[in-house]
């Protein structure tokens, strides 16, 4: 049953992505709204799946890399929908839905019933650490999407050839705002995630900072993000520079999330 819900959600994500793609090709905003509605339905199914999973496992809905991928996909699309409701920029979904779909496909490779869990990980600190870090990552993903769209729209407007895409994409002002708000939220959540992780590291290994590769990469992203926020607030950085920096922060986070385990020894299961 659980698996069935997950697969249905996956299919609906797929439909939503396809409709978004068509809306971009046909340059029709009405289609994008339809796609956003489909995305909403997918997120609903996905939420049911995650809660169910949580109830069955009893500890945490996220105990392995596949579940983590699925959780990030959920957090990205969920937070996107909140933005969409606030800013009425359903076209942003065309940029958000493909990575979400990829995450879901990757997650579907190994998602199964309740996974086993080491007794050392059976603590709320870990649950908090994982959920906050992943949701933070999701917000950075959103910021990155908005930043990419900003760069595209900026280039289009500078080309001084008004195409239908200019009309379709949200305004620079809105995109910059979405980017900023996502970065602020991502930063806050990531901070909680890092702090809770380090507390637990202290109880488990006796040190806050283990110089673990994943810790270092995540801290680097956090510092970059802190720098971005400082520049924005102190000297009013806007637009392209902020976009580039938030893309950079997300790439480091992404590497830390999926790349580190492949190349470096780490205490993190994922």
């Amino acid at each position: 049953m659980e698996c069935c819900i997950f697969k249905t959600a996956l299919v609906v994500y797929c439909i939503s992505t396809a409709v978004f793609a068509v809306s971009m090709l046909a340059k029709r905003v009405a289609l994008a709204k339809l796609a956003a509605a489909a995305l909403g339905f997918a997120v609903l199914l996905h939420t049911v799946f995650i809660l169910w999973h949580w109830a069955v496992s009893g500890i945490s809905p996220v105990v392995n890399i596949y579940e983590a991928l699925s959780f990030v996909a959920w957090a990205v699309s969920g937070s996107y929908l909140v933005f969409q409701a606030k800013t009425k920029t359903s076209v942003l979904g065309a940029f958000v839905s493909p990575p979400v779909l990829l995450l879901m496909i990757a997650a579907s490779a190994g998602i199964a019933g309740p996974g086993e869990i080491d007794s050392s990980l059976e603590t709320y600190w870990v649950t908090v650490h994982v959920i906050f870090t992943l949701t933070g990552t999701a917000f950075f993903a959103l910021a990155c999407c908005a930043a990419l769209m900003y760069l595209v729209q900026d280039r289009l407007i500078r080309k001084r050839k008004v195409s239908d895409f200019i009309r379709l994409l949200p305004s620079l002002g809105d995109l910059d705002k979405i980017n900023h708000v996502s970065v602020v939220w991502g930063f806050l959540l990531l901070t909680v995630g890092i702090v809770s992780g380090s507390f637990w590291a202290r109880t488990a290994w006796g040190e806050h900072l283990l110089w673990d590769a994943k810790q270092v990469a995540t801290l680097a992203a956090w510092v970059l993000c802190a720098l971005l926020l400082h520049q924005r607030l102190a000297i009013g950085w806007k637009g392209k520079r902020a976009a580039y920096l938030s893309i950079g922060a997300f790439i480091i986070l992404l590497f830390s999330f999926v790349g580190v385990n492949m190349f470096f020894p780490t205490v993190h299961r994922f």
């Binding site: 407007i157 500078r158 050839k161 009309r167 305004s171 002002g173 009013g236």
Partner: protein
């Protein structure tokens, strides 16, 4: 009944002719009355805008009606006949329907896709309705035209792109800043085009206006019309820092706003996005500013090329709109043809009913011997048989007539059932 449409537009007639006609016709209501009073005309609508004068009428005999309407236009407008012949277009039935649909959908407008024409057609219709000049045919036709116009607007991109410099500026400004509420516009130099663009921006939410000019007097007139404030050229750097949108149109030979001034302003405005429109020739703003972050610079040629491109897009969209209109013309014509059989069917029913009544009267004596219930049964039986027999020819006739060719069938029906005029009395 047939539909005829006579008129002239910006393509068929020179401005002077249209002008004379519009003036001569004066108030729409009067003209509608005049047209309605022509002997052939049953229903009438008169549409006059700056680019067209048209008369639409429902008539019984289209040939003579067209002549009457033409004479009416010529005499009414006090125009020389020779000039007019070439300028007036005449459409009948399907062509007239198609033309009206095209006009209402703004396919026939000078600036294709402009939204005002639909409102003007609605006004003309309202005037006609008020003078009681419309009936079944025109009511249905006009409502159908409004529906078609709506369909064209929503299903094609014909009116979605800006085709004036002012509107293009607004679209771009919105795509840069998101919304224009609370934004500030700085006008440098007192040009007519700058004023026009500003008017568009104000209509879309821009709130404060600053006017900078070398001679403060000229600036004051513009500033007053927008409720704005005037600054001298010496305080231009400060004003540039305040504004979100800058429109320049001075006659200066050098750059009025250079890179340095913009860089300083950006620092002061903490990099808030700046949209600059340089309408002046020679240019007022250093073109190198276009490469700066958070600054978007368009000159008059850029805006004009956007407008030209959008006009091209509209032509493509117009093809799709044309297909929608063909579709709808067919729908309407089907309805109109089916209208032709209605009188014949009514006559047929009346005739059958009168026969039944006569036959019952003839059997009066015998019927009286029956009790109430039996009498009702007999009447029910007779009516049932009549309805069953009439059902198929009537529905069949309606179907056949929807595809055109009503006249032959109607004539045959009248002939076969003896529904000639003597019957109608």
């Amino acid at each position: 009944m047939n539909i005829v449409l006579l008129g002239m537009n910006h393509k068929s007639a020179p401005l002077e002719l249209r002008e004379r006609l519009t003036i001569a016709c004066g108030e729409e209501e009067q003209t509608v009355d005049h047209v309605k009073n022509l002997p052939q005309v049953k229903e009438a609508l008169y549409l006059a805008t700056c680019n067209r004068v048209e008369v639409l009428a429902a008539v019984d005999d289209p040939d003579s009606a067209v002549e009457q309407l033409k004479d009416f236009i010529v005499t009414h407008g006090n125009l020389p006949l020779d000039d007019m012949e070439a300028c007036i277009y005449r459409y009948r039935d399907e062509e007239a329907v198609r033309h009206l649909f095209r006009v209402a959908s703004s396919l026939d407008s000078m600036v294709m896709g402009e939204p005002q024409i639909l409102g003007q057609v609605k006004d003309a219709y309202r005037a006609s309705v008020e003078r009681k000049a419309t009936g079944v045919l025109l009511n249905r036709l006009l409502h159908h035209a409004f529906r078609v116009a709506k369909r064209v607007r929503t299903e094609t991109g014909i009116s979605s792109n800006a085709v004036s410099v002012g509107y293009t500026a607004v679209t771009l400004a919105k795509k840069i800043m998101g919304h224009l509420a609370g934004k500030t516009v700085l006008i440098v130099g007192a040009g007519e085009m700058a004023e026009l663009v500003t008017r568009h921006l104000v209509k879309n939410g821009v709130e404060s206006i600053i006017v900078a000019n070398r001679t403060v007097e000229n600036a004051r007139t513009i500033a007053e019309s927008f409720d704005g404030r005037v600054v001298g050229f010496e305080s231009l750097p400060g004003a540039v820092g305040e504004a979100d949108i800058i429109i320049t149109s001075t006659g200066a030979s050098g750059y009025v706003i250079d890179r340095g001034m913009i860089a300083g302003a950006l620092r002061r405005r903490r990099n808030r996005l700046l949209f600059m429109i340089d309408i002046a020739v020679p240019r007022d703003i250093d073109p190198a500013a276009a490469a700066m972050d958070n600054v978007y610079l368009y000159n008059i040629d850029d805006l004009q090329s956007v407008v030209d491109e959008n006009l091209q897009t509209r032509l493509v969209e117009a093809e799709q709109a044309g297909r929608i209109i063909e579709d709808e013309v067919e729908n309407f014509e089907r309805w109109r043809h089916s209208l032709a059989v209605v009188p014949a069917i009514v006559d047929l029913r009346q005739k059958v009913e009168s026969i039944t009544r006569r036959e019952f009267d003839r059997c009066g004596g015998w019927m009286d011997t029956l009790n109430e219930e039996d009498r009702q049964n007999v009447e029910g039986l007779v009516n049932g048989i009549i309805n069953k027999i009439l059902h198929e020819p009537v529905t069949g006739l309606k179907e056949v007539c929807e595809d055109g060719g009503a006249e032959e069938y109607v004539a045959a029906l009248r002939r076969l059932f003896g529904l000639e005029d003597d019957f109608r009395r």
